[in-house]
């Protein structure tokens, strides 16, 4: 075991896979000599050589397109898209090509690639360095979408994603690279080293895809969250003294419906929290699933707490972010009758 923040855990996951599988290659803008703008690939080129970890032209279409071709050759590429906000030029290669290769060729060609990309705001990144576009990908058949919330999960899920034989979009909540940000932006963020989840095994281990984690057990309300919002939601329910069950989804597709269903049937209430814009967000899908499966157990309307349907603003970042006030209000609304 070693103590790692999320970046170090991701770096360790990449290093582990580069060591174990000679077909794993890392490519992306600034990932080589420099080691990535967030340092996720630091030291990897030096250790494994230029053909295993290398810089690319600034062309997301080219990065993902070339990765598809590498998959056809037999490699297992792990391309990095520097910010999720930049991924759109690569969407056709991801959606029409990588995600459908196995289907359209009846299994002759597959795309076992893991596309890593940082998501989310709260770092004063403005509208082009803050987006959470997960729902655009969860809508795509043939693509898995994964988002960790701790260093331990980040490494385990990353290794599981790289070993998976289908294309995986691996979203990294950049706000929690260094520590579990709880949404109280005026308070300093405690580093990961102060938390048990920073205990990360040195070598190979996996956290299975498609399995959620109950991060806080409770019976008053089920809170569904992922990425940064797991920590924010957990902090807010604790501040409000509400005995909520907080579930970290970890994988959005395929989502762990069993864990969700079991919890909502127990609590009878469900609140969904995500940072992404509201309309057609992944919360809409979760809300529909819960309604379809747990309707007769529900004692209150499902609450969705999300970012607003605006671009991510720069100066008004904390007005946009679905933080303690927005979550708190929704919480009081959904469990208010329990208190009276």
């Amino acid at each position: 075991m070693a103590v790692m923040n999320m970046i170090e855990a991701i770096n360790s996951g990449l290093e582990t896979m580069l060591e174990r599988d000679e077909n794993v290659v890392i490519m992306g803008e600034d990932v080589g000599y420099f080691g990535g703008v967030f340092r996720a690939t630091a030291g990897l080129q030096e250790k494994f050589g230029k053909t295993r970890c290398f810089d690319t032209p600034i062309s997301e279409c080219g990065i993902i397109g070339a990765a598809v071709g590498m998959c056809a050759y037999g490699l297992r590429p792990v391309p990095e898209i520097q910010f999720a906000d930049y991924i759109y030029p690569g969407m056709d290669q991801l959606i029409s090509e990588a995600a459908r290769l196995r289907y359209r060729s009846a299994g002759e060609f597959t795309a076992p690639m893991t596309v890593r990309t940082p998501v989310g705001g709260g770092i004063f990144g403005g509208q082009t360095h803050s987006q959470s576009p997960e729902a655009m990908f969860t809508h795509v058949s043939g693509l898995k979408t994964v988002i960790p919330s701790t260093p331990y999960d980040a490494k385990g899920l990353l290794i599981a994603s790289i070993e998976d034989n289908d294309p995986v979009l691996f979203l990294e909540p950049k706000r929690i690279y260094n520590g579990p940000f709880t949404g109280y932006y005026d308070n300093p963020v405690a580093p990961w080293s102060k938390f048990a989840e920073s205990e990360v095994p040195e070598g190979h281990y996996t956290v299975p895809l498609g399995k959620a984690k109950i991060v806080r057990e409770g019976d008053a309300v089920t809170v569904l969250a992922y990425g940064t919002m797991v920590h924010v939601a957990k902090a807010v329910v604790e501040e409000h003294g509400i005995n909520a069950e907080v579930i970290d989804l970890r994988t959005l597709v395929p989502v762990d419906i069993e864990t969700i269903e079991k919890s909502v049937k127990k609590t009878g209430r469900c609140m969904i929290v995500h940072e992404a814009t509201r309309t057609s967000g992944f919360g809409a899908e979760l809300s529909a699933l819960v309604q379809e499966r747990c309707f007769y157990h529900l004692e209150a309307p499902i609450e969705r707490v999300t970012g607003f349907d605006t671009p991510y603003p720069h100066s008004l970042e904390w007005a946009y972010f679905p933080g303690p006030v927005r979550i708190g209000e929704a919480l009081e609304k959904i469990v208010g009758d329990l208190k009276s």
Partner: protein, 424 residues
């Protein structure tokens, strides 16, 4: 305002919308089309730097002259057997196209695409590659499969989307895939195969392999970002790849001017990237073979990518869903100054004394018989729209390696619907 005052003296801007020279009914005049003499183009050493051969992108490599003789430094000097194989394969492709086009018209499938007039650009170029070189085709390179011996009956099974279709009835007709023959699954989205081919070539190079990649797209889809991403990657990593642009003049109803042909050649795109580029008479099978060999040898000796523009003409409709009489002059095809690749090779072989009119007639008949037999055989496995050819559950297979819960649920629903729609 001062600005307003200045503006009053400026001429109004005008937007240029390209327009092809000839529309239906127009008399076609090709006299201003520059067609250099066959054999007049120098053949640079394969070790030449791209910057030392920029003239090639505005020239046109031609081998077969007006007397049907192979001339000049680009003559690949193929043996008789190879030449006859090339002719046979091109004739088989054309016969197949004609017959399968007819099957679509008879309602046996939804769609078909011929490559009539462009056979050389896939047949001759694939013959110049090794069998284990990886091909990333667009949708009009069926010639690759014929060169590599893919059984016609498998092609027809795919076209009929029947129960023997190896792609499980999932793909539009002609969007073949054959991993065994190093033929990448055809997408249908344009030019996506370009960066993929470069990625494959990068992988081959990084593994110290000896195989190279070849990719094809039409001149129209060179406008896609994928094309330019691929060119950048190919140049940056010196990828061992042959990049073919089949300039058949038409992208459905849009003439090549909508991809930039009013200003320069497509081969000239290579010069901008520092990539070796050749422009070749795409209806001259020997020129296509020679250019591809040259490019393949460069790639195989670690000298990187080559762009080849094949200057040809789409002699028929874009697809069975298209009617070119609505937008172009029929005379364009009739008078195409570069002729027809099959006729030109036929005449060359006759001139060489290794082929005859009788042999050609026999070949035509043999090819037709072979296609008819393949169609009959494939039809036994069903034709599109008549019955349920693929097991129902195949709809949900191969979305992922393992079927997740939501697809299992939807598969169960589909099975329930089947009981209602088609009671057993």
């Amino acid at each position: 305002m001062a600005d307003e005052k200045n503006k009053s003296n400026l001429p109004p801007l005008s937007l240029h919308i390209p327009e092809p020279k000839y529309r239906p009914g127009d008399v076609v005049d090709y006299s201003d089309l520059e067609i250099p003499e066959a054999g007049a183009q120098a053949r640079p050493d394969i070790h030449s730097a791209p910057k030392d051969m920029r003239d090639m992108v505005y020239d046109m490599i031609r081998v077969l002259d007006d007397d049907d003789t192979a001339v000049g430094p680009w003559d690949p000097k193929l043996d008789d057997e190879t030449l006859v194989k090339m002719l046979r394969t091109m004739v088989q492709v054309r016969t197949f196209d004609d017959r399968l086009h007819r099957q679509q018209r008879q309602g046996k499938t939804s769609f078909y695409m011929k490559c009539t007039g462009e056979e050389a650009t896939s047949v001759a170029s694939t013959m110049a590659l090794h069998a284990d070189d990886m091909c990333f085709p667009s949708y009009r390179q069926q010639g690759i499969l014929f060169v590599r011996g893919y059984p016609m009956v498998e092609m027809v099974n795919q076209i009929f989307s029947n129960k023997a279709d190896k792609l499980k009835g999932r793909q539009l007709p002609i969007m073949y895939s054959s991993r065994e023959l190093n033929f990448f699954t055809v997408s249908g989205n344009l030019a996506t195969q370009y960066p993929q081919a470069v990625g494959w070539a990068m992988a081959s190079a990084s593994k110290g392999d000896s195989r190279i990649a070849a990719v094809w797209c039409g001149e129209g889809s060179t406008a896609e970002g994928d094309f330019h991403a691929a060119m950048t990657f190919a140049a940056v990593y010196n990828a061992p790849v042959v990049l073919n642009v089949v300039n058949n003049q038409w992208a459905i109803s849009s003439f090549s001017g909508f991809a930039g042909a009013e200003r320069t050649t497509f081969a000239a795109r290579g010069a901008g990237y520092g990539i070796a580029a050749l422009r070749v008479d795409g209806n001259d099978p020997l020129a296509v073979y020679a250019a591809t060999s040259w490019a393949a040898e460069r790639a195989r000796t670690n000298q990187g990518p080559t762009l080849i523009e094949h200057f040809t003409y789409r002699a028929d409709a874009h697809s069975t869903s298209d009617d070119p009489t609505a937008y172009r002059s029929a005379q364009e095809r009739e008078e195409w100054p570069l002729g027809d690749p099959i006729m030109r090779l036929n005449k060359h072989l006759i001139r060489r004394g290794i082929w005859s009119v009788e042999q050609q007639e026999q070949l035509d008949a043999d090819c037709l018989e072979a296609v008819k037999a393949a169609v009959t055989e494939a039809a036994k496995n069903g034709i599109l729209g008549h019955g349920l050819h693929q097991p129902f559950e195949t709809m949900f297979q191969d979305v992922f390696e393992e079927m997740p819960w939501h697809l299992k649920e939807q598969a169960a629903q589909a099975n329930k619907e089947r009981e209602i729609k088609w009671p057993s």
